[in-house]
Amino acid sequence: MTDYDSITARNVPEATTVLKSAKVAIAGLGGLGSNIAVMLARIGVGKLFLVDFDKVEPSNLNRQHYNTKHLGMYKTEALKNQIGLINPFIETEILTIKVEEENAAEIFADYRIVCEAFDNPQYKSILVNALLQNGNTKIVAASGMAGFDSANRIKTECRFENLYVCGDYVPAAEGGIGLMAPRVAICAGHQANMVVRLIMNIKKV
């Protein structure tokens, strides 16, 4: 068996102690959220709070961090299981619920860093607007990561004081463009890295 320090041995050393005492919420566990969660688990973020209402289906497997064994499981449970195998020394709390305008602020009230990782643009907007009402929550959101256009078009921007947005702003479904693992994972990487920077108290993109 192993331990927390061995798993994080190749981290940036001064980051690890800060990451270990950090907690991050992730809203939506699809292509973005599942990959963000796994990345943050690997580097030892002390507590992850994972929220989604959906179950794993075959069409998720082209970009989301699940496998055929997870089909039919709630994404919250499938992801918690995987994190338990990758880094069992962090805390993972899950909540299987649909985030709506009415419950969003309450669900994430204990978190100062929240990743918006939904697929549906209306729900992205609902979550971001609900959380921005509370002036001390930093939101790392995503808008646009479809297709296989240049990876370099995906950017992280600080749009409001408390809102970072990663993506290229090109829509998926309506534009007739599909979603595929590489660009979705690139966008998830942008979000995860911005989360690390915020944990390290770096607000600059």
């Binding site: 643009p121 992205k124 907007s125 009402q133 749009r159 993506g167 998926a172 479904a173 309506e174 979705v184």
Partner: protein, 64 residues
């Protein structure tokens, strides 16, 4: 008026709601700051824009 860093001439006073629609935004998919403060969606219709305002409009598109 300054919108997402670009200067736009405002011919007449207009509500935020009407401005967003005129510019082609779907108001259920945005987040808007005016002069550094978040504007709740409930206030879009009553929030009037002036030529010296600074707007930041974040447009959310599908995919994740």
């Amino acid at each position: 008026m300054c919108v997402n860093g670009i200067q736009i001439a405002l011919e007449r006073q207009i509500s935020l709601q009407d401005f967003l629609l005129k510019e082609g935004y779907n108001t259920s998919r945005v987040a808007v700051e005016k002069n550094g403060g978040i504007i709740s969606k409930k206030s879009f219709e009553t929030e009037m824009l002036n030529d010296n305002d600074k707007l930041e409009i974040v447009n959310f598109v599908g995919g994740g």
